[in-house]
């Protein structure tokens, strides 16, 4: 019983101490927090991922190991600290190094072909496959339904030819 009372008292004291401690820090007029690590490497890489190294072949900027790429990642960080948006940073890279730095080519000029041709070819192919499948389905129906087909003559000719061939084989 006495033990219970002391633990309860200790808990209450801890609680009061916690409240006072919190009030002291919250009420303080000059709060100083640790600086945010902005932008983080992940945030920089999120933009770098959408850009390609202008001097290496097909290597996204976020995974490129060269010194030049490290400079460009540092540049992205610099621009982010300066408050530039993702679009502004990407545009800056395009202005400096050309469209080839973009992971997705802009939909203008000859680049339009990249966006137009594949869907066109796909749709064309689908239409072609569909129309051919339709024809394949139609052919057997046509043979069964058409009573005027005169196969007898050809069948007889075939049988005769086979007979001749068999005879030749027997003779040899």
């Amino acid at each position: 019983m006495i033990e219970n009372n002391t633990t309860l008292f200790q808990k209450r004291r801890l609680f009061i101490f916690f409240i006072l401690f919190s009030l002291f820090f919250l009420g303080s007029p000059n709060l100083v927090f640790a600086q945010n690590d902005f932008p983080t490497d992940d945030q920089v890489n999120a933009i770098a991922k959408e850009l390609y190294c202008p001097v290496c072949e097909n290597i996204p900027l976020d995974v490129c190991p060269t010194q030049a790429c490290a400079q460009w990642r540092a540049l992205i960080k610099e621009k982010m600290i300066a408050g530039w948006t993702k679009a502004e940073i990407k545009q800056y890279f395009v202005d400096q190094y050309g469209d080839r730095v973009l992971a997705q080519p802009p939909a203008r000029g000859l680049n339009l072909l990249v966006y137009i041709l594949p869907p066109l070819v796909f749709v064309g192919g689908m239409v072609l496959v569909y129309s051919n499948l339709k024809k394949i389905k139609k052919v057997p129906e046509k043979i069964v339904q058409n009573p005027n087909i005169d196969d007898e003559k050809y069948l007889k000719e075939m049988e005769e030819a086979l007979k001749v061939m068999n005879k030749k084989e027997d003779l040899s």
């Binding site: 202008p54 001097v55 072909l113």
Partner: protein, 187 residues
């Protein structure tokens, strides 16, 4: 028998002529485009004796230099980058050569900073005390004209706007630079 043939013919409906023509035109256009792209890609750098297309360079100081306005002068176009280690080998020599020709007014040096970051590029120019005009190769427009394969590369254009000499890789000495410029001046 006749009926079945007629029915078969009906099934094999021909595509309208304009569709066939359009399809062939698209195909031919696409092939022509591919051929054009391939031809451009396979074209090597500007050859010695060939006319160099005019271009302009905006220096880091904001000055715009147009090669069209430099007719009658020998132009030395040097491609470099701050991340390029071999470029550092020739940086001092190029500056020395520039100092040699500067006062004659017959030779113009242009440093083209190929896909670089401005802060590092300025640091490089400061480090090697480079005083001739240097500027970024915006959208790689200039390097595409010369179809460079890397950095450093130097192109010397004669007084008539034709390519007089080309150096792939770094210069070893000042005399190597001056001998190339002198032969362009004497042409």
């Amino acid at each position: 028998m006749e009926n079945s043939r007629i029915e078969e013919q009906k099934d094999h409906k021909k595509l309208p002529r304009w569709v066939i023509i359009a399809a062939f035109a698209i195909l031919l256009g696409f092939l022509a485009l591919m051929g054009w792209g391939l031809r451009n890609a396979q074209q090597g750098p500007v050859q010695v004796g060939q006319k160099v297309p005019p271009f302009q360079l905006t220096s880091f100081d904001g000055e715009t230099i147009k090669t069209e306005e430099l007719q009658g002068k020998v132009i030395v176009v040097n491609f470099w980058a701050s991340w390029c280690k071999p470029c550092e080998q020739e940086a001092a020599e190029l500056e020395e050569a520039w100092q040699f020709y500067k006062d004659s007014g017959e030779v113009v040096f242009l440093g083209v900073d190929y896909v670089d970051t401005e802060t590092e590029a300025r640091g490089y120019l400061e480090k090697f005390d480079i005083s001739y005009p240097n500027g970024p190769d915006l959208r790689t427009a200039i390097s595409q004209i010369f179809k460079i394969s890397g950095v450093p590369e130097t192109y010397i254009i004669d007084r008539n706007g034709k390519l007089a000499a080309r150096k792939i890789g770094p210069f070893i000495s000042v005399s190597e630079i001056t001998s190339m410029i002198d032969s362009a001046l004497n042409q």
